[in-house]
């Protein structure tokens, strides 16, 4: 009803400074929660993007999730085997060519197979344990993020005749070796070969820069005396979110353990959930405090305007009219606060996105970074919805009280 709206706006306008404070309270709440949500979700998305970028989306290894079923178990339903010592099986993934071919037919993305083994690099009297990954350079370049992190050389350099190796720059520093140096690589089986360093990479991940080396697949198979063996297939999917589904299908098809990136980083992703809970709690608290501000001003108005309520009721305005009068006042403050809050939130996000800062420390890939902010209208909608609901509640409580006021009590008090 227009009269009620006009009365409400007059009441609010009549209290300039208090109204401004209440609106600012809501606005700051809305603004900060928008900026905070943008920052939190931005960093989360950035973090996951980096995670997804550096890790294979699905990693298939030559392990199984459950012990292999014994033939007797298949034959006799009553048969049970427990605690069997696994058979010595160093063949890796059985029949890798067929497995890769069948996967290639349906996997939505790219894949690379490799042989992962352990070794010791021996140079200038120093022994450093490393993991040795035998790869096929042209395929690996499509799947691995390391391909983009080369400081010197590339995966293709491995092909340049002789025994070549690529390793992390930190490892090279520790060894005191550089490109062109020949180091001894000793395998667990006792094989030892000289490898020439043809490339250095820097991923920013210390564990990898210090402990990962790449050689040709053939060389790795020779070193570990496992000809034609493959024990690791890594997938890079077009859609990283599809990883769990693809992994389940692979397990069903091959029987080998296939780990999607979500599973490999379960604890990290759980930490993100906890972070979100913390964020929403803080944001909720900010808006709740703003809600109390509104409650305060509306209930002050109802006390001060008790006389007006009595007048309006004696003129024939109903309890419902009085209720909606103060409810509208609360909502109007909430709405005003939301709109100003959107502006504050937008400006905050803009300012934050402009900040550039340098991360010190050698182990960082990018030297200058911007804060990752995620922009979505949802943040604006949710923040103002919360503000409107809390201001509605904050307005409703005093409104209900105002509606119940008996005009006679007030008129008597005034005369």
């Amino acid at each position: 009803m227009r009269v009620i709206l006009e009365l409400a706006l007059t009441h609010i306008a009549g209290r300039g400074r208090q109204t401004l404070v209440a609106i600012l309270g809501v606005a700051l709440g809305v603004g900060f929660s928008i900026a905070m949500a943008a920052l939190m979700q931005g960093t989360e998305k950035d973090f996951i993007a980096q995670l997804v970028d550096t890790m294979p989306h699905v990693q298939i290894s030559d392990e199984r999730r459950t012990p292999r079923r014994q033939p007797a178990e298949d034959l006799f339903p009553a048969a049970r085997f427990e605690g069997l010592r696994p058979k010595e099986d160093r063949r890796g993934i059985l029949n890798p060519a067929a497995a890769v071919a069948s996967l290639r037919s349906w996997i939505p993305g790219r894949m690379a197979q490799s042989l992962r083994t352990q070794g010791v690099i021996r140079y200038a009297g120093r022994d450093v344990g490393v993991s040795v990954i035998g790869i096929e350079p042209e395929i690996e370049a499509q799947v691995s993020s390391v391909a983009g992190d080369f400081v010197e050389g590339s995966f293709d350099s491995l092909r340049a005749g002789g025994n070549n190796i690529v390793l992390g720059d930190t490892l090279a520093n520790r060894l005191g070796a550089s490109v062109g140096t020949t180091v001894q690589l000793v395998s667990p089986t006792g094989q030892s070969r000289g490898f020439k360093i043809v490339g250095l990479f820097h991923t920013g991940n210390n564990a990898r820069d210090e402990g990962e080396t790449y050689v040709l697949l053939k060389n790795a198979q020779i070193l570990s005396e496992r000809p034609n063996a493959i024990n690791d297939i890594r997938l890079r999917l077009d859609n990283p979110e599809a990883a769990p589904r693809v992994a389940r299908q692979i397990e069903a098809e091959l029987g080998y353990k296939a780990v999607p990136w979500q599973e490999a980083n379960e604890s990290l992703l759980e930490a993100l959930v906890v972070r979100n809970v913390v964020m929403y709690t803080v944001v909720g608290a900010i808006l709740l405090v703003a809600g109390f501000g509104i409650y305060n001003i509306i209930s002050t108005i109802t006390h001060e305007k008790a006389r007006d309520i009595a007048i309006l009721k004696s003129l024939g305005f109903t309890q419902g009219n009085m209720r909606s009068l103060f409810l509208i006042e609360g909502l109007a403050l909430g709405l005003g606060g939301s709109i100003v809050g959107w502006l504050i939130g937008f400006l905050l996000c803009f300012t934050l996105s402009q900040i550039e800062f340098k991360i010190s420390g050698a182990a960082v890939g990018r030297e200058i970074t911007n804060l990752p902010l995620y922009w979505t209208p949802w943040h604006y909608a949710i923040a103002s919805a919360f503000a409107l609901v809390s201001s509605g509640v904050a307005g409703y409580l005093p409104a209900r009280q105002a509606a119940r006021l008996n005009p006679v009590d007030i008129i008597r008090g005034a005369t």
């Binding site: 007006d308 003129l315 024939g316 419902g320």
Partner: protein
């Protein structure tokens, strides 16, 4: 003359640890075009009776019929509707909304009733105010007017929806004698010229002496209800 208000054994007791009886067993009939004064000492329940008759308060017992309708059967919203359309109030203090202009204050009850268009409302409000000698003050705010002028605005507002009955609670109580006289004349004209019924609570015996009918209360009870000869007015 038809009966507008019919009260039977109205009693109002304030519930408290020691209940206070404000109005005790009052029965009265009010007809069209009457000018009634309710008098009595302080605390005799005259205002309480007026609030009961004006539907601002509900009786503890007894029945009240307004224009033939039994008010005990009506809920709060229906009572509000009846107040809006059939009753007008003037209080001791003008009780105008301070943020609104004089004209808007008078329009308020019409806007709530919602029967007239915006231009009809302001036309009618302006007409009422002009009749009461406030032609030049339409756009002023209440605090820019004198006490007597404000009380006249309050009368105009009471008349906004053209009610049959105007209830006045000490309408001249806070005015000087000149303004009191003006307001009294206006109330009298409402009865004589516009055919309204006015019920006024007053302790001003000068005014009480010049009305058609005097109801005297003591301790919430009617002790006398006398009609004064027309000649005395």
């Amino acid at each position: 003359m038809s009966t507008l208000i019919e009260a039977e054994n109205l009693t109002r007791i304030l519930p408290a640890i020691v209940p206070v009886t404000l109005v005790r067993d009052v029965s009265l009939m009010v007809s069209e075009q009457e000018f009634i004064a309710i008098t009595g000492p302080s605390g005799s329940g005259k205002s309480s009776l007026l609030y009961l008759l004006g539907l601002l308060d509900r009786p503890t017992s007894g029945t009240l019929r307004i224009e033939g309708r039994d008010t005990s059967q009506l809920d709060d919203d229906e009572l509000a509707r009846l107040r809006l359309e059939s009753l007008g109030f003037v209080f001791q203090f003008h009780f105008l909304l301070p943020e609104f202009s004089v004209l808007k204050n008078v329009e308020l009850p019409m806007r709530k009733a919602g029967r007239l268009s915006a231009s009809q409302m302001s036309e009618r409000a302006a007409g009422l105010l002009e009749d009461l000698g406030l032609a030049g003050h339409l756009d002023k705010r209440p605090d820019q007017l004198s006490g007597g002028q404000r009380q006249r605005v309050a009368v105009a507002r009471a008349l906004a929806n053209d009610p049959q009955v105007v209830l006045a609670d000490e309408p001249t109580g806070s005015l000087d004698s000149k303004s009191s006289e003006q307001v009294f004349t206006i109330l009298k004209d409402l009865v004589k010229k516009r055919g309204k019924t006015v019920i006024a609570v007053t302790h001003d015996m000068d005014i009480a002496a010049r009305v058609d009918r005097r109801i005297h209360l003591v301790d919430g009870k009617v002790v006398s209800d006398e009609r004064v000869a027309q000649a005395a007015v």
